[in-house]
Amino acid sequence: MKVVTGVVGNDIHVVANRLIDLSLQARGYEVFNLGVNTYLEEFFDAVIETGAEVLLISSLNGEAEGWGREVPRLKAKYKKLDDVIMMIGGNLVVGTGNAEDIIPRYKGYGFDIVCHQVDLNTGLDSLEEMLIERNLK
């Protein structure tokens, strides 16, 4: 199972990124880590190039809100992305916000799994569940 991951935008939070990488590897995924400071286009390009089944974007500085709105438009440009599981996690808003508002909004942007301030392992557990649900694992 291939996963493309990275931190979106002008976000240099490398610690979370490295830990996601390690944790995915520990769970047996083949990881393509684009690192911090990655643009949305680069994520989609990497998914196409590697044939990954999962795209896991993280955002820690709260700027994902701005990028999120562009996801549907960008995704539409690429073919063959409909079956890819799209996941986003981290701090998804600037300042404080509650999960009840945030999750539907990000689902609207096209994400299948939305983890706002969720513990890393809990987040990766929901990924496993979805993979089983979709008979991918």
Binding site: I12, V15, N17, L19, L22, A26, V36, N121
Partner: protein, 456 residues
């Protein structure tokens, strides 16, 4: 005209720079007060008096001046000049705009002092007025123009280096270019060092401040020192930050000092003065300001155990943004008080840990020197590229990220996966032997999260 001088004229011929008067600057440095040179203070200071340097930079001249007044009242030894992030990216246009907005609206629109925009003629007035050594803190891969301006202003300590100012901060800036830009800086510092007291260069040891093992920290300190000394710099400070274990800090300081001397002599630069700088905890701080003060005080105690020549301080407001000048000055006063009451320090030597760390550092250094490239900077560049040097949690694309470190029961940072770094087998076995490796990776990731947040 030398090639360097040609390059200097190109660099200084910049729309954001007033005419740069080389002759006048040379004259200024030649006759500058010795008190402005930190190298002079290192030379004359009593064996036991550690110099205290806070952090701080504000956009406007007035606010920076006011900050210095506070610091002097708090009995500071070294004044900081922290540069804004636009200048760090050589974006002098934005810095200029934001400086004007800050001046007109009395709101800080920059997170530091835009030195290039202020210019050396203005800044020099402030520096010479306070007549204390100033240390330039920036984080700039291409600091050529910045450093020329700093030296012309009377700032005679320059922090940074091609590795330590790049690997922790940048994803894509080309490392090879950084080496060449810093070579220019070293040469300019070296040239000016003949005129009066030496200009001091200081490396930035904390790196990513996240579980970097002492062997990697020391190797990078030594390499930046050698790159500087071979260009003719005569006063250099190696540095590192509080790591989380008092004993590991003491061992790190001892090995760093010993090997700095050793390698400086190897390239016939034994006459250069090598100083040791200790950074108070650079990782995540507790939100509780009382706890932050405990952490700061503990760091001061450890700095003395390490026999540092200078300490760089944090403030109780570290976790909540840019500290006020009051908080900053308070830390200086508290630190000076603690240094005054901290007496009868024991002499601590941990021979086993020192031996292990020395072997590690020497093995990595040897691997770097064995790289077939023709110059030291290319050897270092190649060694980073091929993972002989690997900095945990660096965001830079060139960094391997294959080394994994965790803390042992005593909170020492230990290497449990060495990647391409040539840690000798015996040392590697020792490091792993201190840790519980029966855990699964998920537990180890949880441990790493815990180990990073150890002070919170």
């Amino acid at each position: 005209m030398s090639l360097l001088q040609e390059e200097r004229e190109i660099i200084l011929n910049n729309e954001y720079v007033d005419t740069f008067d080389f002759a006048e600057v040379k004259e200024f440095i030649t006759n500058a007060s010795k008190d402005l040179f930190i190298s002079h203070h290192f030379k004359k200071k009593a064996a036991d008096k550690m110099l205290v340097q806070p952090r701080g930079g504000f956009p406007t001249y007035e606010k920076q001046y006011a900050l210095y007044e506070f610091f002097v009242d708090a009995n500071v030894d070294v004044l900081p000049l922290t540069i804004d992030s636009n200048t760090r990216l050589n974006d002098y246009g934005t810095a200029k705009k934001m400086l004007r907005l800050s001046e007109e609206n009395d709101i800080d629109m920059l997170n530091g002092y835009p030195l290039v925009n202020h210019g050396y003629r203005t800044t020099r007035k402030m520096i010479t007025h306070f007549n204390k050594p100033v240390s330039l803190r920036h984080g700039t891969p291409d600091a050529r123009l910045l450093i020329e301006t700093a030296l012309a202003s009377g700032i005679f300590e320059i922090e940074g280096g091609p590795i330590t100012y790049l690997l922790p901060y940048s994803k894509n800036f080309p490392l090879d270019k950084a080496f060449l830009y810093w070579k220019y800086v070293e040469r300019v510092c070296a040239n000016y060092s003949d005129l009066n007291e030496p200009i001091n260069r200081e490396s930035f040891g904390p790196l990513t401040a996240t579980l970097v093992p002492p062997s990697i920290t020391i190797v990078i300190q030594l390499l930046e020192m050698l790159l500087s000394l071979e260009e003719g710099v005569k006063s250099f400070s190696v540095s590192f930050a509080q790591q989380g274990s008092m004993n590991q800090d003491i061992v790190t300081g001892a090995v760093l000092k010993k090997l700095a001397k050793h390698y400086a002599e190897e390239i016939n630069c034994g006459d250069a003065m090598i100083n040791l700088v200790y950074h108070q905890w650079m990782g995540a701080f507790p939100m509780n300001k009382d706890y932050a003060e405990q952490l700061i005080n503990l760091a001061t105690v450890i700095a003395r155990m390490v026999s540092a020549d200078k300490i760089i301080t944090k403030t109780r407001e570290e976790a909540s943004g840019i500290p006020t000048k009051e908080a900053n000055a308070k830390t200086v006063a508290n630190t000076q008080y603690t240094l005054g009451i901290l007496n009868g320090l024991p002499n601590v030597v941990d021979e086993e840990e020192e031996e292990i760390l020395t072997l590690e550092v020497m093995a990595i250094m040897e691997a770097v020197f064995n790289d077939p490239a023709d110059t030291l900077w290319r050897k270092v560049f190649n060694s980073i590229k091929n993972g002989i040097i690997d900095v945990p949690f660096s965001p830079h694309i060139i960094n391997h990220n294959n080394m994994i470190t965790i803390r042992d029961a005593k909170k020492n940072i230990r290497i449990i996966k060495r990647g391409n770094v040539p840690i000798p087998d015996r040392c590697y076995a020792y490091e792993k032997g201190q840790c519980d490796l029966t855990k699964d990776t998920t537990s180890i990731v949880n441990d790493i999260i815990h180990d990073i947040g150890i002070m919170q």
